[in-house]
Every structure is written in C-alpha cells, then in structure tokens.
C-alpha cells in the first residue's frame, strides 16, 4: 500500500510486520523515532505478543537482545553513532554467539567533536564485528531490507545491521510501498533457533574456547558470511517474487554498461550521484561515459560482484562518508581488494563527514577531474583549506593553542553565513 511517511515510521512499521518479540530501546538521535513508534505499538497492544524494554544504555540494549535471542525470541533494537560504540563489546559478542538480532543503525558521525549528523563512521567502525551490514539507498529500500534482514539473520544465525543515513533517510518524508502482513508472513517464516536456552534440553552457551578451537570457530563465522553472498541475492529475488520490487541484493549498478569511469558509493548519496551522472551523460553536457556502482551489502563484502561491475571500466572513484584516519578510505580499501590485479586506476574521495552536504555542483567538478585522472589518491571533498591552514599555522606559532574544534568554529563563524 502506497503511503507518504517518515523513513523512521516506515522502518518501524516494517519491523512490526516482522512480528518482533523483544525490542530494546535506548534513545540516541537520529534513530529515536523508530523505537518511539514501535514502543507505541507495543503499549497500545497492536504488536502483541512483544516486549518493549526501555534500557539504561546501548550496552544493555544489545545485552538484552542477546538474552532474548538466546532464549528463542525474535529480537530487534536500533542505535547510531556513540550508541553503537557504547555497545561495541556486546555487538561482537552477539555475532560471536551466532544470535540473529536485527539492528537498525541510523548512520551518524562519531565524536569528538560531537556531531549528530550523517556519515558512515559508526557502522564502518563495526565492519569487523561479524555482523552483516546492509546499506539502504532510499526509505523504500530501508523498509524492505529490514524484512529481508530478519530472514537472512535467522537462516544464517548471524546478526544484521540495516544501515540508513541519519536524518537524510530517517527523517525524510517519502512515498513508500508498505507491504501487507500477509506478504511478510509469506516471506518470513517463524524463527526456529539453532540454539535455545530451554530447561527441557539444557545447553551451555558462551564457554571459554582456547587455542585448540578458536580459529575454527572464527573461520566458521567467515564461512557463514561467504554463504550469505549466495543467500542475499537469492532472498532478494524471492522478495521480488512476493513484493514485486527490486530491493536489497549485493550491489546495484546504474549506467555502467559502457562506463569508463565508475563511481562507487553507499547509501542515500547514490541518489545525488545518479542525478549528476544523468546530467553528465546528456549529449549537450558532453555525453560522459560514467556510471555508478552502489554497494548495498558491505559485509560480507561482495568482491566478485564489485569486480564484475568494474571490469570494463578504466577507473573507479570511491566516494565515501567515512575515513580510515591515517590511511584514507574504508570502502575504498575494500573496493581495491576486489579489483586487485585488474589494472584499474582508483581514487578515494572522503565526503560528507558529519553531515557536510554533498552537492551536485561539487560532484560535477569532482567527477570531471576523476575522468581526467586529475585526482589525488585521497581527496577530501569541499574541504575548507583556509580553515585548516589557519589552524596549522597557529600550531606552528604557539604551543598553547587550545582545543582544536573550538578554534575552527571561531574561524568559521556563524553557520548560515557560509556558502558551500
């Protein structure tokens, strides 16, 4: 059914259609609207049987989800940014124990400096946590990915993060096609756990594992993610059969058939990139041979699909809302692994950190530079060099320069007075 609604509301309704049994909530922007909506559904009784637990921290949220999942309940929570870091120990634990928890990550920057706006630093900091990580491009895809995520997670006995851009998606009102309960029930079977805490069949879960078996246990976690590379496209195909939509899968390509330059990105920025590419491809704008590869599934990383998408191109530009400090890109490193030995030129562009707008104007200039191989190996899009250099000069001149972020804010001045 077509509806106009906020992204968070759409995700909440999709999660509700998946019949979750235990939901844990701890407030952190920008995911709060999701759990608020679910909390209301539980309290008014429309989501029975389901327990909604207001916990005291994200660490507790994930821990409650661990307990609930181990006791056989379909478990869900949502978080972002600092919240994801605060629960990090339990995040690794949930995947290590093989518990199919589904969690929305409303992607947001990580402080310091504290910043509530969107980038992918939070989810990518947990890329090696053993969770599957799916990135939504639109609110429709965010909604659909949650339904697929429960199925995938429970089949694999692995937890899944469904990542959606904070504010850009979570707070945007868009048209979505909300499935019916019958459709979701037809797609998502009842949760049959592989392991469950049950007095009639007692098991010990979470024992100490020494060097004699630790490698093998960890390898199996890797093998399961490799298995997911087959399951994800298969479940996306089944999803299409039931719901009539292309959603999910490993990657999406757009106008890459004859592209010499392919932009690689994740999340909502793909929309801006596609618009830019459409404009560049118009004959009156020079008919640039440029396309885009969207990564929907970041973990497991779809090496073969990425290599196949890029193999006829001359170069790729990875545009990512994250940064490996001291190296460059995170997504870029993964993409480079996929194209090893293919002789492609590759560029890393760090963009949109902390909610910095990524505009078509900037992308037009960037992509043209990329096409001419005029980019540095690592580029910081729309970086204000004046502000950066001013601070570097201060630090050369004085010892006690004070806190960096505050000094930069003084240089930048009143927000609104600036043009990007």
């Amino acid at each position: 059914m077509l509806k106009q609604m906020e992204g968070s509301r759409a995700v909440a309704e999709a999660v509700a259609l998946c019949r979750p049994e235990v939901i844990c909530a701890y407030p952190i922007s920008p995911q709060t609207h999701i759990v608020e909506a679910l909390g209301e559904m539980v309290k008014e009784g429309s989501l029975a049987p389901c327990e909604f637990i207001n916990v005291e921290s994200e660490f507790a949220a994930m821990s409650v989800a661990i307990g609930a999942s181990a006791a056989g309940a379909r478990s869900y929570t949502a978080t972002a940014s600092q919240g994801l870091l605060f629960m990090a120990e339990a995040v690794f634990n949930a995947s290590g124990l093989g518990l199919p928890i589904v969690m929305t990550v409303a992607n947001r920057a990580i402080g310091a400096p504290i910043n509530i706006w969107n980038d992918h630093s939070d989810a990518l900091s947990q890329r090696d946590s053993g969770w599957l990580q799916l990135f939504a491009e639109t609110n429709q895809e965010a909604l659909d990915l949650h339904i697929q995520a429960f199925r995938l997670a429970e089949e694999l006995s692995l937890p899944i993060m469904v990542c959606m851009d904070g504010f850009i998606l979570t707070h945007a009102y868009e048209r979505v096609d909300m499935p019916t309960q019958a459709q979701v029930d037809a797609y998502l079977p009842r949760y049959e756990p592989r392991q469950v805490l049950d007095p009639s069949d007692p098991v010990s879960i979470g024992a100490m594992v020494g060097p004699e078996a630790f490698m093998e246990v960890r390898y199996l976690a890797h093998a399961k993610q490799m298995e997911a590379l087959q399951l994800i496209p298969a479940y996306a195909a089944e999803f299409k059969a039931v719901f009539g939509r292309d959603s999910g899968g490993l990657t999406h390509t757009y106008r890459t058939e004859d592209a010499e330059t392919i932009i690689v990105a994740m999340g909502s920025v793909l929309g801006t990139i596609k618009d830019t590419i459409d404009e560049m491809r118009q004959p009156e704008n020079g008919g640039h041979k440029i396309g885009v590869l969207g990564i929907t599934c970041f973990r497991p990383f779809p090496i073969a699909a990425v290599a196949a998408a890029l193999k006829h191109a001359k170069r790729f530009v990875v545009l990512e809302k994250s940064m490996a400090v001291g190296l460059g890109g995170i997504l870029a490193v993964n993409v480079r692994m996929a194209v090893t030995g293919m002789g492609l030129k590759g560029y890393t562009v760090v963009a949109g950190l902390g909610g910095r707008a990524i505009t078509k104007k900037s992308l037009h200039a960037l992509f043209r530079q990329g096409e001419q191989d005029g980019l540095e190996p690592v580029t910081f899009l729309d970086l204000d060099w004046n502000v950066v250099n001013k601070q570097l000069e201060r630090e050369k001149a004085h010892r006690r320069t004070g806190p960096v972020a505050e000094a930069l804010l003084r240089d930048v001045g009143v927000v609104g007075a600036r043009n990007y």
């Binding site: 235990v22 327990e51 661990i66 307990g67 181990a70 478990s75 049950d198 007692p202």
Partner: protein
C-alpha cells in the same frame, strides 16, 4: 592437625545437622534428589567459596521451581571454572555473554519467556563482586529499577580473583590485593572507599534483597527459596571466601564466612520492598582480629608491631554494621 570445638544442640539453630531432623526440615543440599545444577568436575580451587555458594543457591532455586531455571553468568571465576569445554558443570540451560552484562542478558531471557508464555521458567543471573558492583553495575541497576523478573546473585569474594586478586569496589578496607599492595604508609585497600551493594539494592525498593554467607546453608537456601516465590527484581549477595585471594586455608572457607558474620564485618539480613525484615543475629560479637588474623591479605596488620589503629578502624566498621543493621539485639531471622 588442628581441631575446632563443635557445640551441638545450640538453641534455635540447625547445628545438629540433618540426621536428627524430619525429612521435610532437611536442607535441599542434603537431599539425594538435589539437582546438582553445577556438577562435580569443575576447576574451582580447593575450598572455593563461590563454587559452594553457587551450588547451594542454584540447587535451591531449581528445587523451588521444579527444575525450571535458566542462568545468565557474568565473566569471572564461576564462568571460567565451570565451563572448561568440552566439559561443562552446568546441568541447566546457561549462558555467558560478557563481564558487565549478566543482568541485562537475564532481562532479555525473562522478556523472551514472557512473550512465549513460559511463566514457569525462571531466570537467575550471577556474577562475582567485580562483575556486579563494578563493571556490571549499570546493567544491574537498570534491571532493578525496571523490576525485571530476575534473581541476581552476587558471589562476593572481595576482589577480582580470576585475574589475579585485584581490588574491586567490594574489597574491604586495609585488605591487600595486587592493586592495593601492603606497602607505604597506609598499606592495603584505602579506608572510606568501596560500596556495599545490598544497601544500594535496597535503595531501588525492589521486592527482595538479602545477604547470606556460605557458612549458613539453611539461611542461604531459605533466602533463595523465598526469592523464587516472588516476581520482579530480586538480589541476593553471598559472601564467599576465596582461599587464593584471602590467603586462607582451603578448609577454613566456611569458618571465615562464619567469622565475617559473627564479627559484624558482613551483616546478614533479608529485606522486602526496601525494608529490612530480619537479620541473622550475632549472639556474642567476636573481635575483628579473629576474622582478620587467619587471612594473609591482612598479614601486614599483625606481626611484631600490630597496626592497632587500623584494626580499631576495622572494628569500628564492624560495630557500625552491628548498630546499623541491629545485628545484636534481635532474635534469629530463621
């Protein structure tokens, strides 16, 4: 070989043992039908108070629920020594997730059971004093204030014994640990620090809070049994001497626990909804030296030049407990 005088037929006690009691008054642990929830073959040290406490407590909980217990365990000695896979001592469904989240994991299990309509299956969370009073305190307080249907049992041996006897917030004043060494002008753990978690549990006004020691099996079993009659958040704090960390003989574990109670060092009480209902009275309070002297962690207080002032400060703490919890004036609780 040392001998201890044993007094039989003390008025109002069960010192006489099981043999002379009618079957219905015998302890859970004395029954041939006990559940053996934590079975033999675990790797606890000789004389481990925690192994004993866990065995008493979980068997009593199993007895009270007809075997319908799921346990969540914090990281620590109990977790490590009970599950050296491929062997596990646990005859009950048991999960270990992390050091600091046992209470929250238990909340999750309880929520799952509620959703699934399994009202008969009950949840016990357990951890040592480090996992409870320090790293797990946030999750524990959250579980308390939400009044989740979980019995949390803390086995308090006064330090991080599993990692090599470091100080916790339950380490008593003046005690030597590897992070409060017996050196300098004020050897051992600092006075005026630390917390007594049962009092903090009381402040949450949860349905049930009790303390116990491994010296009084019947009291401990009765408290666990009572706790399982109640729904909501419940907390039992059990003093479990640690021969390794305390520097005591393995055969002195129960004696040390009894001395902790008889000196007033460790008050034993039972409370419902934030109000203390009963205490285990001390008939003739013993001087704290009797408790301190056998423990190597207090060795720096004795010897050629006893630390008289420090011992007096510890005595004052014990006296304060006796006053505060009215340990001397009242009748036995059980």
């Amino acid at each position: 070989m040392s001998f201890q005088p044993v007094k039989f037929y003390q008025t109002g006690t069960f010192t006489v043992g099981n043999r002379l009691l009618p079957p219905e008054e015998r302890s859970v642990q004395a029954s041939t039908k006990r559940f053996n929830s934590i079975n033999s073959g675990h790797r606890a040290c000789q004389g481990c108070g925690e192994a004993l406490g866990a065995r008493y407590a979980i068997d009593a909980a199993m007895e009270a629920t007809d075997g319908q217990i799921i346990a969540a365990n914090a990281t620590g000695c109990l977790e490590v020594f009970s599950t050296p896979y491929p062997e596990t001592s646990w005859q009950i469904p048991w999960i270990h997730s992390l050091f600091g989240n046992a209470a929250a994991v238990a909340t999750g299990i309880a929520a799952a059971l509620k959703v699934k309509g399994k009202k008969d299956v009950r949840v016990v969370a357990q951890g040592g004093d480090g996992g409870t009073t320090d790293i797990g305190f946030g999750c524990l307080s959250g579980m308390f204030e939400r009044n989740d249907d979980v019995l949390y049992i803390c086995y308090d041996n006064g330090g991080y014994m599993n990692t090599g006897v470091q100080r916790s917030s339950a380490t008593p004043a003046a005690a030597r640990t590897s992070t409060t060494p017996a050196v300098g002008s004020d050897p051992g753990n600092v006075f005026g620090q630390g917390k007594f978690l049962p009092a903090i549990a009381l402040a949450h006004d949860i349905p049930y809070v009790a303390t116990a020691t491994v010296a009084d099996l019947r009291d401990l079993e009765a408290k666990v049994t009572r706790a399982m009659e109640i729904r909501g958040a419940r907390y039992i704090h059990i003093l479990v001497p640690c021969p390794l960390g305390w520097g005591t003989a393995a055969h002195d574990t129960i004696r040390m626990a009894r001395l902790a109670k008889e000196t007033g060092i460790f008050p034993v009480f039972e409370a419902e909804h934030g109000e203390i209902k009963s205490v285990l009275a001390i008939r003739h309070p013993l001087p704290v030296e009797e408790y301190l002297k056998p423990q190597k962690r207090y060795a720096h207080l004795f010897g050629k030049n006893p630390a008289v002032e420090t011992i007096a400060r510890i005595q004052a703490l014990a006296d304060k407990n006796i006053r505060k919890y009215r340990l001397q004036a009242r009748k036995e609780g059980h």
